[in-house]
Amino acid sequence: MLILKAFEFKRGDTIIHKLDPRVKFIFSFSCLLLSFLFGSVIILFCILIMILPLFYISKSLGNYLKSLRGALFFMIIIFLLNYFTSGIDMAILIIIRLILIMSSFSIFFLTTYPEDFALALVSIGIPYDFALTFIMAMRFVPTLAREAQLIIDAQRSRGLELDKGAFITKLKNYIPILVPLIVSSLRRSMSVAEAMESRAFGASPKRSSLIELSFKRRDYVALTLIVSFTVLMLFLKFYFHIEDYLK
């Protein structure tokens, strides 16, 4: 699952790793907002070009490119679907929008330590239990992928041929993969729950935290940049109707 490389945290010591997760989240969210508001390929492309250096600065360009390669297959499908239903212009727009959204969230997940991410969620009012559930789900994605591979190997060794037969047969071929995967995930979730409870998870209603998030100067600078850029773009769109000039 190459595509997941875009969302796998990689330890690092760059300025982007050090930024407050809330700032990075606002960045990703602004990109999401802009990518939906603007319907112009040129503008979206410009924003994308502006994001790319961030991958270079955070030394995660390699993972990012790998995930794009992994997503290629889906992108081609989406492109073709849109091409046949709404024409070439729409298809290009959708693809560039997709890459932009993926990139903006990928920079967040690539550079944010999962624990920090949970803290950021808590600080915007999400209960810790939910935040933890979310980061644990992220944490177990690679484990699940590895386990799926082991199961596929075991079943192929017993003569299972995944891509044999017509469409329905092909789907049925996945039953021997999915059943063990689901069963062992359930088993594991039980034992994780037991392990957590035996380490007193949920013992006190108000949980303290070893790391406290706090804004530093670089966070204020980054936040100012992000907010002013977003406001500028909104201004250009709604006041100047910039998109009309680009047609």
Partner: protein
């Protein structure tokens, strides 16, 4: 027959096997041993083509594994994986064991006969209508063994078969290996369980960080202190006793209880 020649393999550029070569003749029983991460499981996944060599070749009965499908090779090479939870999926033990036979296209009546025979052989017949998920660890392990033995492959590869098994289950496995040997099967056992190898398996291939560091008789390899240390193992208990008693004229290359008993008695008789 298994022929491995200068086999190289890496995962995304991390080399795991670095020029592994050996041959296993038909009817042999061989243990593949080595430290965690030595490349044992990666190696046996080449035997039925799950992995293909990056360099060198693997031949099974003279056929290069790159030229045939996993399904075709699996018909000849039965791989029994370590964790039963990674393959059990059917509603009953009987269905689980029939799975491979159905995949290989055996006719229905043959499946019936074979499944019954193999379930009886592995003491699973009384459990045939149970769900595999409700069985004990040892029983689950036996179901995975049955689900491979049922289609009668010529080469049988066990990955860590003794992990988490009690002594009786280990004895059962030892008896099974002997039985399969009398049916002139080729048996490969990947394991850390040095006592099990010392008692039951005559030949050892020792891997260490992706290379074969020794290949030969179990007696020569498992009683060689330096080799054992290199592979992150410890000497078999009987051999350790023999080492302690070497000043009394007891030879160091002992593996079995009967041997050390005889040599100790000889010392007392002197």
């Amino acid at each position: 027959m298994i022929e491995v020649n200068d086999l190289w393999f890496d995962y995304d550029g991390h080399p795991v096997l670095k020029g592994v070569s050996f041959e296993i003749s038909s009817g042999e029983i061989v243990a593949i041993m080595g430290e965690n991460g030595a490349g044992k499981t990666t190696l046996i996944k080449h035997f039925n083509g799950l992995l293909k060599p990056k360099r060198g070749y693997v031949k099974i009965f003279g056929v290069d594994t790159r030229e045939v499908t996993v399904a075709q090779l699996s018909r000849k090479v039965g791989l029994i994986f370590q964790n039963p939870d990674h393959q059990l999926f059917a509603e009953t033990v009987k269905d689980e064991v029939s799975f491979a036979l159905k995949n290989f296209g055996f006719p229905k009546d043959v499946i019936e006969v074979r499944v019954e025979k193999i379930l009886k052989m592995l003491d699973l017949y009384d459990l045939k209508d149970r769900s595999p998920f409700t069985l004990s660890g040892g029983e689950r392990r036996r179901v995975t063994i049955a689900s491979v033995l049922c289609y009668d492959p010529d080469i049988i590869v066990f990955d860590e078969p003794t992990v988490g098994q009690d002594y009786r289950n280990k004895e059962r496995l030892a008896r099974l290996i002997k039985l399969l040997h009398t049916q002139s099967k080729t048996i490969v056992v990947v394991t850390h369980d040095i006592e099990f190898v010392a008692e039951n398996i005559p030949r050892v291939i020792l891997l260490s960080s992706g290379r074969v560091i020794a290949d030969g008789s179990t007696r020569r390899i498992l009683t060689d202190e330096n080799l054992i240390m290199k592979a992150n193992l410890v000497l078999p208990q009987i051999t350790q006793i023999a080492y302690f008693l070497k000043d009394f004229g007891i030879p160091k290359d002992l593996l079995w209880i009967s041997e050390i008993r005889d040599s100790i008695i000889k010392v007392f008789r002197r």
